[in-house]
């Protein structure tokens, strides 16, 4: 029996092999790579009868956490979309990308596909979250794919910030649900507190670009088109929809969610008319479709569940096709500016058919899937109570007509004053994949196959939580949805000639209205605050810096001392021996002398005496390892100081008397405080010491006689590993700081 994991692993192997193999094979590699999504798709179709498919293995047994997968009808719908559209996208990418960039793109796309298949089949909140975060990261990498452009980098960071913060909120919600129900398995969840629902919903809203987190999606269009078509229309942005739908039997109807969806739907439908870039137009239209789905899930009736299931399918088909077409137009004409494109039917006739078929579906014209989607959505709301929602759907339908007319009539059949010229004709890889999707959109609508209908009903049942048996058909009779549909189509055609004027007025909307400006302002505020804090802490002078640090330490010490009465007593033990007194006197004398030495090198050398005295003290207490290390560190510190001093200006005494007095006060208070602290620690009741354990077992367990070293490399090896990692990072930090020269104008070199 083929299990789900095999496809996940196959995808990861593909990702690993994409670079080494893909570089040799060139564009034809994409055809080879399609074997993975294609086999996943075929397996998905054949396993339709055997649902649900369950698989589970222990992950973190100590936490009772399993890596469990369960593919139900809703999951399978996503599975088929991800693998099916993935297959087409891989072919498309082979034709669209430069051969040099293709392996890297396919590598990240494969990881993304694995993560999406994982989300579709996850049965456990933590398993799902793992894949969820992988999609955020791969999305970041793909939006920033052309990292040499500032726009790409900014959009990538923006998308990562929004979906990343959303991911954390989602995690909080999932953990709340997990603790409430004592398990992380979705199937065993029975209750959900309002706060957990809110957190999960916010997480899903960021992922699925819902108002007010919607603005990252149009900017994500900086990614190469195969990515936009795959991640940002057909699959990843629907992950939020998927989770909401999956949990909707648990959450029940959520009116607030329905309203958020409605606001998103209207707002995005309006803004889609204000763009001239084909991909951005489609991106706004995608945000609107996502809003429609959230609205329907929030509504929570059987009819709404069926409409959601159908919308997921229909939207993926036509929007995927439209995105690929827009990318192919860009590829062939060198621009995707709707105002510069015209007469495309003559330049690129092969693209006309996919564009027209998919646009008809988008516009909701009868016999296409988009029409049924709209009918189902309209039928989901009662005319008496759902008027605002019905209006939202109609607005989106009108906007859909205008967008569809722009994508077909305007750019394919009309002439423009400044028209772009044909660069090179599209290869079959650029028009066949969108055509396949567009034709599927027609077939799904025109011949609503019995299996398809049953499948959608099963999906709807998964979303709603109980059986759904509503008939899906093209013809529902002369009812309200039909009249509303006709009204919307007619209004759309009437308004269409005014699109250029609508567009200019919408384009001039201030950025704060679209919330993108607010995000930027928030970003700036964060930067300024952190700069402010850093400037306060990182004083320009070493003296100020030390005063701040020592002062803060003294305050903390004082507060702790005031709350915890301490006894100060000399520890019991053998008295102080003569040679120890001599050593300490040496150290003390050197410490006093160092203050009066008028040059840096001398001061450091004298300070070295303190270090040596300490090292000898260690020897007298039979700690040769410490002594050795202390001396070596001291030597190297002096060497480093010498190297630095060579670059400093001659030493000058510039402190005033008062400043010196402050220095002295702080030094004396700090030194005394440390002494008192040591005494307090030594006289405090001792915890049972672990030293004896180490000393006794160092040879029997650690195979070594040097206890210190056995602790470092065996008992506490993980700590040591952390320390040497920090050391390496510190070396890198010093390196960059020293090499980074800031010019007077603030420009970095």
């Amino acid at each position: 029996m083929v299990t789900i994991e095999i496809f996940l692993i196959a995808g990861l192997i593909l990702a690993a092999l994409a670079q080494p193999i893909g570089r040799r094979l060139g564009s034809s590699f994409s055809l080879l790579a399609t074997l993975v999504p294609l086999s996943a798709f075929v397996w998905g179709i054949t396993s339709l009868q055997t649902l649900p498919i369950i698989s589970s293995r222990p992950w973190v047994p100590s936490l009772g956490l399993d890596f469990s997968l369960r593919l139900d009808h809703l999951g399978l719908l996503f599975w088929l979309l991800i693998s099916g559209i993935g297959t087409l996208i891989f072919i498309y990418a082979g034709a669209y990308m430069k051969p040099k960039e293709l392996p890297r793109l396919l590598s990240i796309l494969s990881v993304f596909m694995v993560a999406m298949l994982g989300i579709a089949s996850a049965a456990n909140a933590i398993t799902l979250f793992l894949f969820w975060e992988i999609t955020s990261i791969t999305s970041f990498l793909l939006i920033g794919f052309k990292g040499e452009y500032e726009n790409s980098r900014k959009s990538a960071v923006q998308a990562l910030a929004v979906t990343g913060i959303g991911g954390l909120i989602l995690l909080a919600g999932l953990i709340l649900l997990g603790t409430e129900n004592q398990t992380f398995e979705f199937a065993q969840w029975t209750s959900a507190s309002p706060i957990a629902i809110t957190l999960v919903a916010i997480g899903c809203m960021t992922k699925s670009a819902q108002f007010p987190f919607h603005f990252w999606l149009p900017n994500a269009m900086a990614a190469p088109t195969p990515v936009s078509a795959y991640l940002h229309s057909a699959t990843m942005v629907k992950a939020g929809i998927f989770l909401l739908a999956k949990l909707s039997p648990l959450f029940g109807p959520q009116p607030a969610l329905a309203w958020i969806g409605a606001i998103t739907l209207v707002w995005a439908s309006v803004l889609s008319l204000g763009e001239r870039d084909l991909k951005r137009i489609l991106a706004w239209s995608t945000v609107g479709a996502l809003g429609l789905m959230v609205m329907l899930i929030g509504h929570g009736t059987k009819e709404a569940a069926e409409a959601v299931a159908y919308t997921i399918l229909a939207h993926a088909l036509y929007k995927g096709a439209l995105f690929m077409t827009a990318g192919s137009i860009d590829h062939a004409m060198g621009t995707r500016d709707a105002l510069q494109l015209g007469n495309l039917r003559r330049h690129i006739p092969t693209l006309a058919l996919p564009a027209i078929l998919a646009s008809l579906s988008l516009a909701g014209i009868p016999i296409f899937a988009g029409f049924i989607k709209k009918e189902l959505a309209l039928a989901a709301f009662e005319p008496a109570t759902g008027i605002p929602f019905l209006i939202a759907i109609i607005i989106s339908a009108i906007s859909g007509i205008i967008v569809a007319m722009t994508l077909t009539h305007r750019i394919f059949f009309q002439s423009q004053p400044e028209e772009a010229e044909l660069h090179h004709a599209p290869t079959p890889g650029l028009w066949i994949p969108p055509l396949i999707l567009a034709v599927l959109g027609l077939l799904v609508g025109a011949f609503c196959l019995p299996i398809g209908e049953h499948f959608i009903q099963y999906v709807a049942a998964t979303i709603h939580g109980s059986e759904v048996k509503n008939h899906i058909a093209l013809w529902h009779g002369f009812k309200l949805p039909l009249f509303l549909s006709i009204g919307a189509i007619v209004t759309g055609f009437i308004l269409n000639p005014f699109w250029p004027r609508i567009r200019t007025s919408l384009e001039n909307l201030p950025k704060t209205v679209t919330l993108e400006g607010s995000f930027r302002a928030l970003n700036q505020l964060t930067n300024q605050t952190s700069v402010g804090i850093t400037m306060f802490y990182e004083r320009r002078s070493v003296r100020d810096h030390m005063i701040l640090n020592f002062g803060a330490f003294l305050v903390i010490l004082g507060v702790v001392a005031a709350q915890n009465p301490m006894t100060l007593a000399l520890p019991n033990g053998p008295g102080i021996l003569f040679h120890e007194v001599v050593l300490l006197l040496f150290a003390a004398l050197a410490a006093i002398v160092v203050i009066f030495i008028p040059n840096r090198l001398g001061a450091v050398a004298v300070l070295g005496i303190v270090g040596v005295a300490m090292a000898i003290t260690y020897v007298t207490f039979s700690a040769p390892d410490l002594a050795l290390t202390q001396i070596l560190i001291d030597v190297l510190t002096v060497v480093l100081f010498v190297l630095i001093f060579a670059k400093l200006p001659r030493f000058k005494d510039i402190l005033t008397k008062n400043q010196k007095l402050t220095n002295a006060t702080i030094s004396i208070v700090f030194g005394s405080a440390m002494t008192l602290l040591m005494l307090a620690v030594l006289s405090a009741p001792q915890l049972p010491s672990i030293n004896h354990y180490f000393a006794e077992t160092s040879y029997t367990l650690g195979q070594g006689l040097n206890v210190v070293n056995v602790i470092i490399v065996d008992y506490r090896a993980l700590d040591t590993m952390g320390e040497i990692t920090v050391l390496c990072l510190a070396a890198l930090g010093v390196h960059t700081l020293v090499r980074l020269k800031v010019k007077s104008g603030g420009q970095k070199q």
């Binding site: 040769p624 390892d625 050795l628 290390t629 070596l632 560190i633 030597v635 190297l636 060497v639 480093l640 010498v642 190297l643 630095i644 650690g702 195979q703 070594g704 006689l705 040097n706 210190v708 070293n709 056995v710 470092i712 490399v713 065996d714 090896a717 993980l718 040591t720 590993m721 040497i724 990692t725 050391l727 390496c728 510190a730 070396a731 890198l732 010093v734 390196h735 020293v738 090499r739």
Partner: protein, 135 residues
């Protein structure tokens, strides 16, 4: 600027210092020493070269980029924890075995490998500091 006295002494003692550092590294498990102390001794011998001969000579003596040495040391330390997985023990659990050598059977274990990693990291980062400070 260069002192002939220092240079002459360096020529004599640096080989000994380097041998001493390896000696300290290897005997560290039973007597004072270990990767940290050994690494510091090796690093101080490079510091001596820097002071006596200059930066270029230190680079020649190092042969490799100090940061690469530190990185390799870190990788060695990380990898030394993996053999434990093969006998079903947690990460970094020590494994010891006797290795026949010309000098007689010698006890070898993953902590020694770990210590070699620490040794390399300490050399690498200290020399890297020295190099940066001498910019």
């Amino acid at each position: 600027m260069r002192s002939i006295l220092l240079q002459t002494i360096c020529r004599f003692i640096i080989p000994f210092l380097l041998v001493l550092s390896v000696f300290l590294l290897l005997r560290g498990h039973n007597e004072p020493g270990g990767g940290f102390a050994g690494g510091l001794i090796a690093a101080s011998s490079f510091a001596l070269i820097l002071l006596a001969f200059g930066k270029n000579e230190m680079k020649v003596a190092m042969r490799f980029d100090p940061k690469s040495i530190a990185g390799i040391g870190l990788v060695i330390a990380v990898l030394s924890g993996f053999p434990a997985f093969f006998i079903g023990e947690p990460y970094l659990k020590a494994i010891w075995f006797m290795l026949p050598t010309p000098l007689g059977p010698t006890k070898v274990g993953t902590p020694v490998i770990f210590d070699i990693g620490v040794y390399l990291v300490v050399i690498g980062i200290t020399v890297s500091f020295l190099e940066d400070m001498d910019e």
